[in-house]
Amino acid sequence: MVAKVMQIILSPVLALVVGVFFLGLARKIMARIHWRYGPPLVQPVIDMIRLFYQKSVSHGSVFDLGLILSLAGSIVVVLFLPFGQMCPLSNSGGLLVILYIMLLAPLGLALSGGQGANPNISIGISRKLILSLGYEVPLLLVLLAVMTHYKTISIIEVVKIQQSTGWSIISFPLFLSGLSYFLILPAILGIRPFDISSALQEISSGPIVEYGGKYLALVTIEHAFALFISIALFVNLFLGGGANPLIFFAKMLVVFVLGLCINAVFPRFRIEQAIKYLWKWPTLLAFLGLIITLM
């Protein structure tokens, strides 16, 4: 009982630390790819301290509550994800619950941003929702293929089976699904070439244009959680989880650095190009994987 409570408290903290570390690492690696020296690894932490000490402007109660809703949604998803042997809420729900609660974070942010009444926010949110329409289709097909192949909806079971029979990304029918998930990973993370919704130069960083001070710090924390969740889901479903949290985080790191290399060299898609891409190759691969799994 005590161990469970400890895990419930510890795992979001761990996820936050890893997510913020990833944010710092992203800036450093991007700088190195650009042949720059880059900021120190702790730069996101410095930024957050600065933001927490700054004055902040609220745009109404929905502005605050939407942000809290999206943070809460992210923290709850983290509780459902096993990393290493740690999984606080292992016996309740599974992939289906994760799928449902994963929607809370972007919806909360959309709700909160809508209160800001800035045209850039509405453009950003509509782009974000269109983009999620693009990647939800292959994502659902991928998850369906995984659930059908292992004949379970529990993510713990999926990890356990993989640890005895090998990673699913190198097993035959799921190889296609894994590739498809990796292809849509930049869209889920919102990094280039899919940073359409947070485009700095086009729509002044989109949904977060009105956030400053503490609100921006909370948005950064939410971003760190989102980063953690989508990569952890990939590692759990296709790279066999981890025997302990350390191995798990090492696998996450590899996936994240691969994603960053894509981020560093590709220009941004337009929204219709992104949809065309997302509904062509990843969906095709995911659909093929599902068909072969069903046969």
């Binding site: 650009h34 042949w35 720059r36 730069q43 600065r50 004055k55 960083s205 400053g212 921006l216």
Partner: protein, 182 residues
């Protein structure tokens, strides 16, 4: 980060965080903005000092006024400055915001920017080299350390003066005063 700095971080985290996380609002007022892209990209890499450009005034705390300020731009500058969140720092870049520079007898530019918004530091020159921005940033660190980068406090205290000067150039302002002027 040496041991000396850790003690400083513990003593005044807000001050240190303000120093090392200067987010500059990317707002092109004049010709000086041409010096900023080399500063933020691979050649001079301002990000190693924590200086990055952001797109909106809400997220920024450093305002670089680059080059001459026409009357039309002044309106946008004031609105942007008032939207930034405290503590905020302004740096005038180039000789035009200081005293008009080569536009000193122009009918359409303002001569002394610090009559309209408070300025924490100047970079003289026409154009200053990109390195000058780093010198300004290090000077700004010293000013923040000593508590002398207090432009936003001066703005609050002397708001009547600044508002009167703004109205003298722009006529009736179509936004309410930021602070009460009684």
């Amino acid at each position: 980060m040496d041991r000396n700095q850790i003690r400083k971080w513990l003593r005044a985290p807000a001050k240190m965080a303000n120093k090392y996380s200067l987010h500059a609002i990317y707002f092109c007022t004049g010709c000086g903005i041409i010096e900023v892209p080399p500063v933020i990209t691979a050649r001079w890499d301002a990000e190693r000092f924590g200086v990055i450009p952001v797109a909106t005034p809400r997220q920024a705390n450093l305002f670089l006024i680059t080059g001459y300020v026409s009357v039309k731009t002044l309106r946008a500058i004031i609105r942007t400055y008032e939207q930034m969140l405290e503590p905020k720092y302004t740096v005038g870049f180039g000789s035009c915001p200081i005293n008009g520079g080569m536009y000193w007898d122009s009918y359409n530019t303002i001569k002394h920017l610090d009559k309209y918004i408070p300025i924490d530091g100047w970079i003289a020159g026409c154009m200053p080299r990109p390195e000058a921005i780093f010198i300004a940033v290090t000077h700004l660190w010293t000013l923040i350390d000593k508590g002398m980068a207090n432009g936003y406090i001066r703005y609050r205290e002397n708001y009547e003066f600044y508002r009167r000067n703004q109205e003298m150039v722009l006529g009736k302002l179509d936004w309410p005063p930021l602070y009460s002027t009684e």
